[in-house]
Symmetry: C2
Subunit: 334 residues, 2 copies
């Protein structure tokens, strides 16, 4: 891989929500990238971005700009946007997404791979931290310790899906849900006890709920705690707070988590080892965006090398993520 310095990678963003804005901020931190366009499904005039001199376009005009963009970053949701968008835009662009519906990754991969290959593009799917950095750590640790156990914990952080679920409960005006890993479970894993942990033993769910005036609080609490899939299998704590308090103390989007592998080595498996990777993130979308942009750099380089098709974080040699040359990396980071 040759590192060409001085030529900036031209980036387009499709979708300007929390993730799209995070991508814009990440580009600002990387000297070898520049934002050239933001595309939106909204009225472009209604979208104000942070980067001076860069225009917002309607998504209807996106194909016209196919020769002006090295990598298009797709910032839609995994439920309905990305399954359509990633294969569609891989026809015209090198693309990257953060598709995170784990069970549907194989299907998404196949679809995107076909289109990317047919059109001579590189696509990278499921970049972020889980899938993404957490997946990498699972893979490395499994390769290094073939006899062992994997554990993933999430939090402390805001679950968008669980917060949405709370807000759908009758009598709830607004709400936020935090997923919290349980300390005793973390400790048992760290101590190589190889625990078999139930859903309830791994995570706690803490809800901050703003009730509508006159709502039946006991009923709200019971409805939340017994909600199947979302809360019923967990110990759930419900706090009722005011709208002001929610805004003041719970408007951030922090997240994080832990990936462990514990395993044994030795002729008779007599020695224990713990590999632990953890993230503590003030902003889930901004960190996700930062991971995406490191992989966008790799996508651009692979395209220049003539590679085509769909890739995941598993397929990318780490050196492709860094703006530094191989010599610099060996000298300073090895």
């Amino acid at each position: 891989m040759e590192v060409v310095k001085g030529v900036k990678m031209k980036v387009g963003i499709l979708g300007y929500g929390n993730l799209g804005k995070g991508i814009e901020c990440a580009i600002k931190q990387n000297d070898d990238m520049e934002l050239v366009a933001v595309f939106t499904r909204r009225n472009p005039e209604s979208v104000k971005i942070l980067t001076e001199g860069v225009k917002v376009y309607s998504v209807d005009d996106i194909v016209k700009m196919k020769d002006e963009i090295d990598v298009l970053v797709l910032c839609g949701g995994s439920a309905t946007d990305l399954p359509e968008q990633t294969p569609e835009y891989a026809k015209y662009f090198n693309v990257i997404d953060s598709f995170d519906t784990h069970a549907k990754i194989p299907e998404h991969f196949e679809k995107v791979d076909k289109v990317a290959k047919e059109n001579g593009h590189v696509a990278l799917i499921s970049a972020g931290w889980d899938p993404g950095m957490f997946s990498l750590n699972r893979l490395y640790a499994n390769a290094v310790l073939p006899q062992g156990n994997d554990y993933t914990f999430w939090g402390k952080g805001v679950s968008q899906g669980h917060s949405d679920a709370i807000r759908r409960v009758e009598g709830v005006k607004d709400g936020k849900q935090y997923t919290i890993p349980i300390d005793s479970a973390l400790e048992a894993v760290r101590n190589c006890e190889n625990p078999e942990l139930s859903t309830r033993q791994k995570h706690l769910r803490e809800c901050f709920v703003v009730p509508e005036e006159g709502a039946d609080l006991a009923k709200i609490e019971e409805t939340i705690k017994n909600m199947p899939n979302y809360f019923a299998d967990y110990d759930t704590i419900v706090h009722f707070i005011s709208e002001e308090e929610l805004k003041a103390n719970h408007s951030g989007i922090p997240h994080g988590g832990f990936v462990f592998r514990t395993g044994v080595t030795g002729w008779n498996g007599e020695n224990n080892h713990v590999i632990e990777y953890s993230l503590k993130l003030d902003s889930n979308p901004e960190f996700t965006a930062s991971v995406i942009m490191a992989y966008a750099r790799a996508v651009n380089r692979l395209h220049k090398e003539g590679v085509t098709g769909c890739k995941t974080v598993f397929d990318i040699a780490p050196a492709y993520l860094s703006p530094k040359s191989g010599e610099e990396l060996r000298q300073h980071l090895l």
Copy 2:
């Protein structure tokens, strides 16, 4: 990359000390590998290995076996063995080493790269955990958080170099030294305080010393504590213990450590993030060996793909480390 199942990778080991034995144990844990020969500079008849049916040869016979080995694992030391051995044996074999003299990696790389390319082999240098897994984590975290600080802590673990230094002190019969990261420093890093830490603030050194009969204990303690490079810049604790106690409680080779990157994201760097990777290892050589064998798998695959030259962990896509296929990895670990 194609994953061919059923064909075992044939491994040779050069050097049968702690690391060589660790390699042998790691091979036993990986179904797609088999040990075919151990080479030694000692009298082969004096070396007893664990694997039934495998022979120990003199290193003088190694070249004769060049067509029977897919990857030769070099288990010598970094000071004098590997600078000679890795370029020499890259003439005849695909090789892998754990060269860990950080400052001399660029020079070692160039020498090995030249020979490997001239002879159509793949060589991978500096596999292990530092350099190795720690380096990977530094690279990934730097690529993801370009604005931030790096911290590496080692321990709690046995430093072979410092233990050797203790044993050279007059009046010392035997001894072990533990490198211990200082909790308050770890906490300051985790809290995003971005501390500037002196050598003394990062690690503590704890020594367990068996004195010779009638030795001057005060003098031993003072000599150790004031030893330049090894101890003078640290807070050092010296315990005098009996030979029996040393054997009973300090005969293991545990190690480990922490790699952090703390950084900011957001338009004005307003959000903090902490990436933490840590290892807690009962056996330093066995874990190092486990990392080496995952990378040996990659070396073998790259060779089959026609790749030549010297590589480091930075150049290897993670999927090459796993015996699983791309489909399996995407389905189960992404």
